[in-house]
Subunit: 254 residues, 2 copies
């Protein structure tokens, strides 16, 4: 998947072929949109990416996303060409419509338990954001991240599998991955003052190494330094959405 | 369904029969727990209610709900007797396990669209809470409630049905109902300074009248005055969880 310029206020609507292919309104560095990229790529569903400048949004964005947020996925072959929003809702919809490979467990109880774990990852997200967006380090944030991740280390130990989904990534793996990938930027933002405890997070660190080798993860992977570079531009109030438009060695494509 | 005393710090675990019946950890006035009561009652699923004092929580609550929240639903017949948390996750699980009547649309797209609307109700919840819990009226809150409800009025008009679910309530109806029921307490909290605009919310007001007559809604219904009485006790820092333990005329039971 190539990466296009992020469309901004004043940008005309993109002219896309009438080919029945899903249209995905996204932003290259948005972790919530990243969730949906992972599901689309894991299922090898074709889609057109329309990259959006979230700082200066194009006027027509609300036609597809009433609150002007990404991700939004337009279903061009459904009646009225509706668009779906909310990463978890889109992910579950895609899992129902495109069951190969099935990402949520088929068993309703196991599925509900994985959804609960996705919700229980929210405190990790909140703590990471304190570090990502604030130039002053919030003292409890690192502790909160570790406490939040303890739940997932324990879960992985209890499941006894490489991934939460078993011998390959499932929905839980993909839904928490965007922030796990971005956790690598913390050392750049905090000048190397952060590293995950190798004993405390033995299983999770092994999981991370395996996730990076997953085909869907590779499709949209960026290293910590690149994520940090974007985040620093965002902190300065001038997010550099298009910093990867001319692909560099850090930008892998599928 | 009768109402028991809310168990508090120091309360022993309730002794329940080994009858395979679901065990539901709830609180009589919690709107999130209310969502699950509605689904259980709409599907006529038997359950034991264990009422929890959320101000002084029983020590054993975290065995069933790791974050000490309600609702939590314990599946006593599943291996390990696990408990589920998060109202929407429990609701969807119950809809999969007990399909009669099906509350979410069977079509994945319509289901996803209803889930998006449930998410879009969150600003209404947030605005209502500003009024419920604060003794000083937040000036924009009433406007925010109306703006949020416009989405639902418009949706109901566009669907052209009495309920969001069609000719009877579906999941979207039940998931937003707890706060719609509680909106009736605003006039008591604001000394009659609040009434919904009869033209602007014509369809929603008709919907509300019909919802009150629904069997599942009746099972757990309380009038605005009763909700306001509880909320005032909560505002004073001494929530009167047990104010309905001796049923009054306002407490209907199934």
């Amino acid at each position: 998947m190539g990466i296009g310029k992020h469309l901004a206020k004043g940008s005309p609507k993109p002219q896309l072929p009438d080919d029945g292919v899903l249209r995905f309104y996204t932003m290259r560095f948005c972790p919530f949109a990243h969730r949906v990229h992972l599901v689309l790529d894991a299922k090898k569903i074709p889609y057109h990416s329309i990259f959006i400048n979230l700082h200066e949004k194009p006027e027509w964005l609300t036609e597809y996303s009433p609150l002007g947020k990404v991700p939004a996925l337009q279903l061009v072959t459904a009646e009225g060409k509706p668009a779906l929003i909310e990463s978890l809702i889109i992910a579950e919809y895609l899992d129902e419509l495109y069951p190969e490979p099935k990402l949520f467990p088929a068993d309703p109880l196991k599925k509900a338990q994985d959804k609960i774990l996705i919700e229980r990852f929210n405190p990790v997200i909140a703590a990471m954001y304190k570090i990502f967006v604030n130039t002053e380090v919030s003292p409890g944030a690192i502790t909160d991240i570790s406490t939040g991740l303890d739940v997932f280390e324990k879960e992985l130990r209890s499941r006894g599998s490489a991934f939460f989904g078993g011998d390959k990534p499932g929905m839980l793996d993909y839904m928490i991955w965007p922030w796990c990938e971005r956790s690598e930027m913390i050392k750049y933002l905090l000048n190397n003052k952060y590293e995950m405890d190798k004993e405390r997070f033995e299983k999770l660190l092994n999981w991370r190494d395996l996730m990076i080798e997953d085909e869907a993860v590779k499709c949209f992977y960026l290293d910590g330094e690149t994520h940090a570079k974007f985040m620093k531009s965002r902190r300065e109030g001038t997010p550099n959405y298009d910093m990867l438009v001319n692909p560099t060695k850090r930008q892998r494509t599928c």
